[in-house]
Amino acid sequence: MSSFFSRVRAGLAKTAAQIRERLTETREPAAESPSATVARAASLQEIEDALIGADVGLPATERILSAVQQAGGAGLLRDRVGAEIKGVFAGASPAPDSGARPRVILIVGVNGTGKTTSVGKLANLFKQQGQSVLICAADTFRAAAVEQLAVWADRAGVDVIRAKHGADPASVVHDAAVSAKARQRDILLIDTAGRLHTRANLMAELDKIRRVVSREVPGAPHEVLLVLDATVGQNGLVQAREFMAVGGVNGLILTKLDGTAKGGVAVAIAYELKLPIRYIGVGEGIDDLVPFDADDYVNALFVDQW
């Protein structure tokens, strides 16, 4: 567990440095000595700016801060805000593993968030946990998407069910589900094409995939994970809402946390939609996708910076 912890830390360290810089900018006037800056506890206004700057969004920020103020209590403001945010994540817990096998996990999201990469890394993660995995390449739209996934699968040592470019994704999913049962795999990971949540026909395609897989494996898909890019702004909330309504999304993967973005919209999503973050991406290596831990996330990206 300590290695996991250090990896999250390392991945988030770059982010943390940037945020410290950002907050120093916020703390005008700049005439203050560095030691004074460190010693001074962040004020309400500074924390509000930091939350908005992290894409938490104004409505969620205001609700969090007013909840903290109403509750009162002792201790530093930053710790109380941190506890409140952790509470938000505690209120959005994932459904427990029902034990059904194969466990079908469907990966969805808008274009360019890192779905294919996440599928590769997830396959690796599950394999290291001792589970047998099968990958289904259902992104038959984007040029070379299947080839990209095949490379990742090879790195993870997992096999892929694939179809020709332009084929009906639902038919590949059907084949993969049959195959996962026949090969008695623990996990079936399905990669899908990127789709904007505003495109009705593409969202309908997602619904079809769900229906097809549930016919083969009762209760599937057990998890539908929306991949969110940590750089996304308030549109992330709209995406989550739409993919939840049409795609049955029940968890998030927050990618690209190794940059300067913090994915704060996930706080708003947890607050409003009770969608839990399941995994976070903290780097480009195959091991750089780790299960989400609310304490680590909130401390590394928020509280420790204030």
Binding site: D49, G53, G112, R199, Q234, K256, A261, G264
Partner: protein, 450 residues
């Protein structure tokens, strides 16, 4: 952005109506809404603060012009300030005498560099240029192949030294080929990278030294939040970006990143990506984006698309019509085909003024079936030429035959005919309303997309 800002402002302005002079209190109420809406649109909070302050300065205590309500006046100030922020730089690429022109694409992972590279090559081809593309993305699995496939689909030449995995060598090879083979433009696609990844930023600098680009286009996702300023700013600091391409503008992203990047980094926006098809790339126009921000619709884009979609033949046919008495089902079908060519229906509708803001319509838009138009076309195709020219002959048995022929039901045929008759009636009334020949001509011109 766009809808929520205009909705919010409309709410405030309703309350402003009837006041002869903008007071500090009314302006404050409006500014609060502007601030909320801009933050919701992901405009960087520093930009929002600066912007709101500027608007306040201009708005407080101004005499209300006789022709304007206070609400309109604030809208005008907001509009002018936004336009001022975008500056006068035109979208697209600035002319250059350099040959070959070298365009370097850069940005974070997943922003859409490879797709944009292909779209840009197509756009240049349309401008009569001869582009060559090359991928230097040796990191993302199958990225090179992705560009190769896209370029081949578009009949664009791609430099592909198989097995060569040094990005700089790949770029140099492409530049040599472009020079030797007379390509006037070279587009160099690069791997997505984080602005804080020193090693990869150095690689980018090496590619830049090797090809000495005319343009450095930073590709940014329109859905980016507050971080847009950090990433774009750092890329600009290290690489001196010359323009921004804003991608995925076809979603409901507010596109506030556009304001942030321009406001803080000071780099003009060159292009916007508006869809998944290769042709969905347009030179940026500030007035259009600002109009969309303020809920005025995107009429300019609509007209331009209509022009591009109307081929010469159907334009000629429409021109021959003196009035609408002989508007036939054939013309109706031509119109439908034109609309289909203009792009996905939901995109087209979003550009019509007022439509974008209607929530109800947005929901309908999501449920709209693009196949509907195909069905209507199939129905008209199943008619005889005589029936198409004179719909009055369509009795019950003819309608039954048409339904069978087009794989639809008689109700569908009836519905199409009803729509046609209504459209014809509307066209006639409009023609009659615009009194005199001039008015009618203007209307015809409008329909012809001129």
């Amino acid at each position: 952005m766009l809808e929520s800002l205009s909705n919010r402002l409309q709410g405030v302005f309703k309350s402003l109506r009837g006041e002869a002079r903008l007071t500090e209190a009314t302006v404050d109420a409006a500014l609060r809404e502007i601030r909320l809406a801009l933050l919701e649109a992901d405009v960087n909070f520093r930009v929002v603060k600066a912007f709101v302050d500027r608007v306040r300065e201009k708005a407080v205590d101004q005499e209300v012009l006789r022709s304007l309500t206070p609400g309109q006046q604030v809208v005008r100030i907001v509009r002018d300030e936004m336009l001022a922020l975008f500056g006068t730089a035109a979208g697209g690429l600035t002319p250059t005498t350099r040959a070959p022109r070298v365009i370097l694409m850069l940005g974070l992972q997943g922003s859409g560099k490879t797709t944009t590279t292909a779209k840009l090559a197509r756009w240049l081809t349309r401008q009569g240029k001869h582009p060559l593309v090359v991928s230097t993305d040796v990191r993302r699995p199958a990225a090179i192949e992705q560009l190769f496939v896209l370029a081949r689909q578009l009949n664009v030449r791609v430099h592909e030294p198989a097995g060569e995995m040094n990005p700089v060598t790949r770029a140099e090879g492409a530049l040599a080929l472009a020079k030797n083979s007379g390509f006037d433009t070279l587009i160099v696609d690069t791997a997505g990278r984080l602005h804080i990844d020193d090693e990869l930023m150095q690689e980018l600098a090496a590619i830049r030294r090797a090809v000495d680009p005319t343009d450095l286009l930073y590709v940014a996702d329109a859905m980016t939040g507050q971080d847009a300023v950090k990433s774009a700013g750092e890329f600009h600091r290290q690489m001196t970006v010359t323009g921004v391409v804003l991608t995925k503008m076809d979603g409901d992203a507010r596109g506030g990143a556009a304001l942030s990047v321009v406001g803080v980094v000071g780099v003009p926006i060159a292009f916007v990506g508006t869809g998944e098809r290769p042709e969905d790339l347009e030179p940026f126009q500030a007035e259009r984006l600002v109009s969309r921000v303020l809920g005025m619709g995107d009429v300019l884009s609509l007209i331009e698309r209509a022009e591009a979609a109307l081929d010469d033949e159907s334009r000629e046919k429409l021109a021959q019509k003196k009035d609408f008495n002989d508007f036939s089902l054939e013309d109706f079908r031509d119109q439908l085909r034109t609309i289909k060519k203009m792009g996905p229906l939901e995109q087209v509708l979003g550009m019509i003024p007022g439509m974008g803001g209607l929530k109800q319509l947005n929901e309908q838009r999501a449920n709209m079936d693009p196949k509907q138009l195909d069905r209507v076309e199939a129905i008209i195709n199943s008619m005889t030429p005589g029936e198409r020219r004179n719909h009055a002959v369509l009795n019950g048995s003819r309608r039954k035959r048409i339904a069978r022929g087009s794989g639809t039901k008689v109700e569908d045929v009836n519905r199409v005919l009803k729509q046609f008759v209504e459209m014809r009636k509307m066209l006639k009334t409009m023609g009659g309303m615009t009194s005199g020949r001039g008015g009618r001509q203007r209307l015809m011109q409008m329909l012809r997309g001129r």
